[in-house]
Symmetry: D2
Subunit: 376 residues, 4 copies
């Protein structure tokens, strides 16, 4: 079995999630490529060494460029703050290696487009970490839609709401930075990615974005406050190229919501409903059920669904958040082994960002915006 | 105890619901006015007589004008098709009697405004049958919001979706008539009324309305088809005068949905969620719960909530659809006994219709529309 | 249409529920017999008159025997305390009239048996108010079981839990009386009636009954306490004549439970689950669903189910607690019109009481008890 | 950081789950002991080698005794068929190493008792894989009960139901062997372990066990059938030493159920409800909530709960089945580092098996059985 050298940049929450997935994947799935946890980079040598020890990487470095250049590293995971993605991804592309970047790819659409062009020109494989798309239940939803089981899709009603910014005393962070911050980019991109994954291209957007709190403390407990201009709450109307319409909501000020990444899809012959807070369940309605017996069926994830059986041979036993990442890494390994492009790659991440940017533009100009497409 | 003569125009589904409520109300609640089921009018004498016999009315007539003029009739329920509301309501107003009209009051905003002016000028009391607002759980939601228990309202995400028009072979009816038809008027008005009841005035609207099927059979099974131009599916962004924002969806082509009149309300200190398919439940989240014990609480309707105890002294025993109508009639009787205006009256129904009309305008012009207010 | 004179004994909660149902039934259903609310009896003339006025009865009396004897009264509802049922029911039987008694029929099995014999000997029609059996969803569950849709029934797991006695300071009432009191008789009879309705005869019982609080205040706030020996909590194993087995729980000390009358039924080809707190829903699983799409379907009550359409022509609109009583009265009227025995009558109520008594005996003797059958 | 050599016997479903957990644990938690995946044993060398390669073990062997004897192995996981547990566990004890055995420890109570005595005499640490007890939500439930938040526990109503044996053509396996097979041992032990974990010692049992299908094919599709005498369905009444009572159900013929490991716990001041099919949720009711706002609160697992934060810093993001095993291994490592006994060890597993055996005895003798305790 061929080995694949993994280099990890960043050891925060998502860094650990990448590390865990690369560690676990070969135990969960039969993969042709076996990852070796080669090298971990963080802001300095000692931080990197501690993380490497904890996560199981062979070596550590305080210099991410050294990691990119390391001959034992074949795939580079970028889990550093978003503002660094552009520079790092570009370096990996230039090194001709596979780049696996956390979402969002970059905060500016132009940067996403540039990275896409450069990666494609270089023939480098890319993957962006929209891991909720890897849920077997999400794959099931897509299968059901694609196969026509619920007929033609009429509408998509989606939301990603959490409440981690509802406290007005939560301090100003990079998430509040006008350059790329805001809930539409942060959480909105998840429900946009799901809408695209399940339904297809979003053609037009009409958005209403709001800043709930006009300033925040510069640090926890600080009396000094800094103005906030990015969005805390976003509502959008969308139309899809395939003819469906819908609405999307993104909020990080939705008191009580912890992981409400949810959607309802109505088709001419059936409907679906999903909520990430119960990620192992899909509610499915199909027209034509026996009269008096019809209703929404709660399908529990099981080995009949993509990738579930790797974790457990019995249905209903429940996958968790980190398992989605394992499936994402497995998909990456499969694509590399087969010399295919992983998905979603930089091109798809760019399309997602294009919708985000269109929402900002629409809200600013108070009008419908045509999303448009990748410019060559 | 004083008697109140009831006259009922129409004996279809809503007519029966009115009749049942007037029959039951004095057994459920201690009311100062006891309704007498005096007179029932329908399209002809024999239809009216059969219904009067079944519903328990003393007399019947094929002439609704005779009913309006009948000296024993103090309150007139109008449950005839919407197209007749204007003429009938006007006649009741002219007769100086209380008018209790099913929703929508009229299909044209101008007619609603005229009726409101005329009723107010005549000092006549009015009530429009938005009976979902009478649910004790809906009243609880309003109490919670008004009292500030969930802080300042940030967002309202509402929907009313059913599926009774999803079959493209469902024939053309008055609901498809360009003059007043469409799902925004039919179901949208319910979620708009709930949004206004709970949150307050809607200031601006941005709507996207669609016709799913461009024609329908003129009759069941007919090969002849008639063009349809009204809306089957509607999505709207709204802003409230109080500062909240939100989205509203109305659909009668949502396969599998039977009574999804639902909303999620997020405030700065708490949240609510409600679905009419479980009309006895309110999901409530309040900030500041004990760490590790916090979550949404499912409150079951019970005698602590408005009007529940009339039906049952024990909590959790469940009210049904028709019970909402009984509460509506009770509210009417109380208002009359106290010489107060019932609610929602013609003025509020006009405001609801103004939002509906604004949605049509917004969708047609592809832009935000300011709803405006009652013109004196 | 023939008239049927109704006499109501008792005007408490269940009395009002009977009154409401007799008032409403002819408006909800097309019935051949139309009830007239003739006479209401309560403990004295003034109480009876107030209730008659409120409920809409023509006349009132402080003497229930006068009501039984009244020539205008054809059917007598007995909603007085259980201890009076025997004497009252016997009087109605002797008068040759239809007797409609609230549950439990009597607190002693021997009394139930005697009443059954006497009623049958007299050819008098009887009905006992186990109104939860009248839920359209319960009827649906029975249809599904009887038709073999879920195969052979393997197990029944039932519970009726509420919390109205969980406060040790809740005072001693007739419900705590050793002669007939206890949760097994009060709530246990409901889940037993449902088990028999859905599955069939219970053959053997093994019960564990407990008294949680050995004494209670003689009155609210009183320092004087009275010993309690009846059961607050009951668990039972049961076997059914048809071969199924199961467990039943009854509790009135289940903190937080308001109307948990619930059951799960597993068959060789499917399963059902029901909870009265969501009385309009049946969860149904059928073997042989398409792989990857299988699960429990939540069926919402609708016009395809027995008696629903009388209340509402549209599915999912929800029935309530009092609607079950209306269906019960409708079933009574239909039986009388067709000269059939209503169900459940005294014989069935006796069988339910026999299971209750068997549970008491089993718990006392710490052993399995064979329930046995009606002794001629 | 000290290293701990892991030896794994068996590479089936549970073997893989152990391997994954030992691989992942140091990445999830800060542990003082870091596992090394040293040696994997299976039925022969080639099977072992393939599994070792896949799971990441350094070496492989076809001889489990060699694994036990290997000097680099400090902890031995036994995931071989139950019939082999006794011999293997005994060998590990004799080697003075830590033994981590899958449930059930052994099929005969006497064997469990012997192993417990031997392990304790040898001073060897033991752990048995009742991994559902490691769920942060289960730990929360125990904290709530222990702290008195729901008062004194009144009742426990538990079930573990699945449907993997409902097909009468599912072939005879070791699970049907009279020596140790049956659903009470297989699934019943899970709900018994949970009852003991949450409530405490079970004092008496009254059980009804049934064989649904008296024979099964000797192999898939075979016409030859073998008699089955073990139990497919079990219902039990139980009493707890602390005074609570309850009922337990175990079934592997519950059509449609995939992982219904569920319980409802009522206390004098609150209640809990849990279902493993939604393992990240605990439903909690506490007496004394504000009137009109009371109900069951759905608590989502989050970093306030034990061990959750290792997997994810954000609440509501969901743990999965395999994550429970990671927590189990973490608990083992912690105990070893602190020189404490892990839990549940052989002694607790013996107590669980004692309840299982008492159920068998009770059902055979048709009477209540006192469970008794460990004999020194």
């Amino acid at each position: 079995m061929a080995r694949l050298g993994h280099g990890l940049i960043g050891s925060g929450f998502m860094g650990r999630s990448h590390a865990l997935a690369f560690r676990s994947v070969a135990g969960v799935f039969d993969v042709e490529l076996t990852p070796e946890l080669e090298l971990l980079a963080d802001v300095n040598q000692s931080t990197a060494e501690a993380a490497a020890e904890s996560f199981g990487y062979k070596r550590a470095t305080g210099d991410w460029r050294a990691l990119v250049a390391d001959p034992a590293v074949d795939v580079v995971s970028i889990t550093a703050p978003t503002g660094l993605h552009l520079e790092m991804a570009r370096a990996v592309i230039e090194a001709g290696k596979t780049v696996y970047c956390e979402k969002p790819l970059a905060s500016q659409l132009g940067d996403c487009e540039a990275l896409t062009r450069e990666a494609e020109a270089a023939g480098v494989k890319t993957l962006v970490g929209f891991n909720y798309l890897k849920n077997p239940i999400t794959a099931l939803a897509r299968d059901i839609i694609r196969s026509g089981e619920i007929g033609e899709v009429v509408s998509f009603r989606g939301i990603h709401a959490e409440d981690y910014m509802v406290d007005p005393e939560a301090p100003y962070t990079w998430r509040h930075d006008p350059n790329g911050g805001g809930v539409t980019a942060d959480l909105g991109s998840h429900i946009i990615s799901m809408a695209r994954f399940l339904i297809g291209d979003i053609e037009t957007v009409n958005a209403n974005l709001r800043t709930l709190y006009p300033d925040r403390p510069v640090a926890p407990g600080s009396a000094e406050r800094r103005p906030v201009i990015i969005d805390d709450q976003a509502e959008m109307l969308v139309t899809f190229a395939g003819g469906a319409t819908g609405s999307l909501t993104a909020s990080w000020v939705a008191t009580g919501r912890k992981m409400q990444l949810a959607c309802e899809i109505a088709g001419t012959k059936g409907s679906l409903a999903f909520n990430q807070e119960r990620l192992n369940e899909l509610r499915l309605y199909k027209a034509g059920q026996e009269p008096g017996r019809e209703g929404f069926t709660t399908v529990l994830a099981g080995p009949d669904h993509a990738n579930y059986a790797g974790f457990c041979p019995a249905p209903g036993h429940q996958l968790g958040f980190n398992d989605m990442k394992v499936i994402e890494v497995k998909a990456l390994l499969e694509a590399l082994a087969a010399d295919r492009d992983p998905s979603p790659g930089f091109r798809e991440a760019t399309e997602i960002q294009r919708v985000v940017e269109s929402a900002y533009r629409s809200s600013r100009d108070r009008q419908w915006v045509t999303v448009g497409g990748v410019t060559g």
